[in-house]
Amino acid sequence: MAYTNTDSNAAAPEREIVHVDTSFEPLIPKFMANRKKETVAMREAVAAQDFETVRKVSHGMKGAGGSYGFDRISEMAATIEQAAKTGTTATIEAELAQLGNYLEQVQVVFD
């Protein structure tokens, strides 16, 4: 069974497919909603130059992402965490844009 993360099929030519343990299925909607909320929170924090919030949020996301099977989320969160430690706004913003796109297009297959 698949969990599709967008309501329309428009303009999504290459969706990344992530295979997730079937028993995790009940947790996935909340997991995805939380990642989207955190992406927004980090965008707001970086706009306010609040790098400590960006670091904390990305640190939590790094630990959670790959544990659910979303290795790319952990990779992007790790990049954001490192950039937050050095206050590198451009890297954080670029990675947050990628993370936002990923969360919109990723398709989950439970198996």
Partner: protein, 138 residues
């Protein structure tokens, strides 16, 4: 179907501030037959350590609000038996050698890096399933 009595289940005391990670560990370990009790920060963990019967196993995140994993580990080791004998496994998203080494020196039995794979988490914690009951009884 007869559900096993909750009292007969081994208990896992999970200290983890990230909700989705906590939910995932809870789901996996309940499938492994554990009853999972969670504290969401260091302050809540200290209260539970001081007021609850000892669990079979503790899984302790390193970075926590109010009191970090190393502080909690020290507190557990200073709490009278049988709490002080409970096996503690550290959970960390940073492979910071110093923190890991310190926790092992303080008596943590093992550590697990986040993100983890389900199979790895279960395998690492399963080793304490028999060991813990033997140690607590001694």
């Amino acid at each position: 179907m007869n559900e096993p009595n909750v009292q007969d289940k081994p208990t896992l005391f999970l200290v983890e501030d990230e909700d989705d990670t906590a939910d995932l560990v809870k789901l996996i370990m309940e499938e492994e037959g554990y009853q999972v009790i969670r504290a969401a920060d260091g302050r809540q963990a200290l209260k539970l350590i001081d007021s609850s019967p000892p669990p079979s196993l503790v899984l302790l995140d390193m970075q926590l609000p109010f009191a970090d994993g190393v502080k909690l580990l020290k507190h557990i080791r200073q709490t009278p038996s049988p709490w002080k004998k409970v096996p503690v496994v550290m959970l960390t998203a940073d492979s910071c050698a110093r923190d890991v080494r310190e926790s092992l020196t303080l008596g943590a039995k093992d550590y697990i890096l986040k993100p983890f794979k389900r199979e790895a988490l279960v395998a690492r914690l399963r080793q304490f399933r028999t060991q813990d009951s033997e140690e607590l009884a001694s």
